[in-house]
Symmetry: C2
Subunit: 222 residues, 2 copies
DNA sequence: AAAGTGCAGTGACAATGTCACATAACCGAT
DNA sequence: ATCGGTTATGTGACATTGTCACTGCACTTT
């Protein structure tokens, strides 16, 4: 299931096609440790980042400490913001943080431009990523503007538990950051869920006990 | 300042470059009346839409009637959603409505694909648009999640009045839809502004009287 | 003039976010 | 095991924003 660096290189910069070999020259492989900040708001974009294996969280921070996760870039995906900024020469509007140790390919702008022109596969890849992120973002706007916090929290818990009755290792603060809410609000909602026997609460962990009930709530207004 | 259809065609599908002439064949010019719905949520994308002159509002609607404007596509811009969906073959996550009579070019998927491969200028154009929209969207998320409604309203009024002391023809409901808020909330805020002498309120119109004061509020937490 | 339609005003209440704390659990060093 | 520091959570009071159910007003049509 896991793709190797070579798989990705071969797919996006195939050596079979003429004139593409030199492209691989400029591509560098890096390994980034958890919690490292890949880019900050306002940074200029210099390289195209391609995640081979790992996870990058893209988030926006507020002045008062609140934050919201916009989306994640995972195995075999690329960071759209980077893509767009590279080409429109704008700076990053958000922040990217490594969530778990991540292996990535750093593609210099020149190589990126070249590949875009010469590889239809590469174009498809880049745009497919764009489309997904754009969809994610619109969904996020919708959730945040119209969605109830209990429904959104239930949805998040279901996503984190993989629909099953499991224990999730996460703090209330992290859940709040994910949803762009405040810790107190999440704590109260969890207490409500716990009161109904849907979850158990431990320090830094949530026990999903009644996935069916949570899922029913999560499905409201679909 | 206004670009003609030919200007745009020439820039994005230049006849000078070899083999591009046939591309123009499939491109069709259409004129769309105000309030027409260009695409709905869930529609599949078939064509690439390029606005020559006019304005398309892209919005999300909630079940209970609330709505929020995500961004607008204006003169010489293209609709990103369409771009991404075309390539990733997803369906529209939002709705597009013509705001004022709009002239647009309809580019079939095949022509779009072709042009993307053969014209660096076209690629730049497409990605530049993507980048802008992505930035707009992220900004929207930030505003909605962290921003105070009075600040956001002041900002909107300043944008609509062009920073000057002018009368704006708009209803409270329209302002609310723009910000993803509720009419009552906007009405109250406007009353507050009116109480301070910053604006005058008429039926379907707002008189901006103290742009400086509004602007100062609008600049909070930048 | 009467009726219809869309726009705006209002009070009561619900949901969510903010603030200022109090507790409690964990961790490492003694 | 105990102490002290750090991080996570609990809680009440309050502010802001959204919801609901109305009312009244202005303009248009008949």
């Amino acid at each position: 299931m896991t793709q190797t660096t070579d798989d990705i290189l071969e797919r996006l910069f195939p050596t079979a096609e003429s004139g593409l070999e030199p492209l691989r020259q400029g591509v560098e492989k890096v390994c980034l440790p958890a919690r490292q900040v890949v880019f900050r708001r306002g940074d200029p974009c210099r390289n195209y980042l391609l995640v081979v294996q790992g996870s990058v969280r893209v988030q926006v921070l507020a002045a008062n400490g609140r934050e919201i996760t916009l989306y994640r870039v995972r195995d075999g995906q690329s960071c759209v913001i980077t893509t767009s900024c590279l080409i429109s020469v704008e700076s990053y509007p958000a922040e990217g943080v490594i969530e778990e140790e991540t292996t990535a390919l750093v593609v210099p702008k020149a190589v990126f431009d070249q590949a875009l022109g010469s590889s239809a596969e590469f174009r498809r890849f880049v745009f497919a990523n764009q489309g997904q992120r754009l969809g994610d973002l619109i969904q996020r706007v919708e959730d945040v503007v119209f969605g109830r916090i209990d429904v959104r929290l239930a949805r998040l818990l279901m996503a984190l538990s993989g629909q099953g009755a499991q224990s999730i290792a996460i703090t209330h603060q992290q859940l709040a950051s994910e949803l762009g809410s405040a810790r107190e609000v999440i704590s109260r909602q969890l207490k409500q869920f716990a009161g109904r026997g849907w979850v158990g609460i431990g320090r830094g962990a949530i026990d999903v006990k009644e996935p069916v009930a949570l899922d029913e709530l999560a499905r409201q207004s679909d």
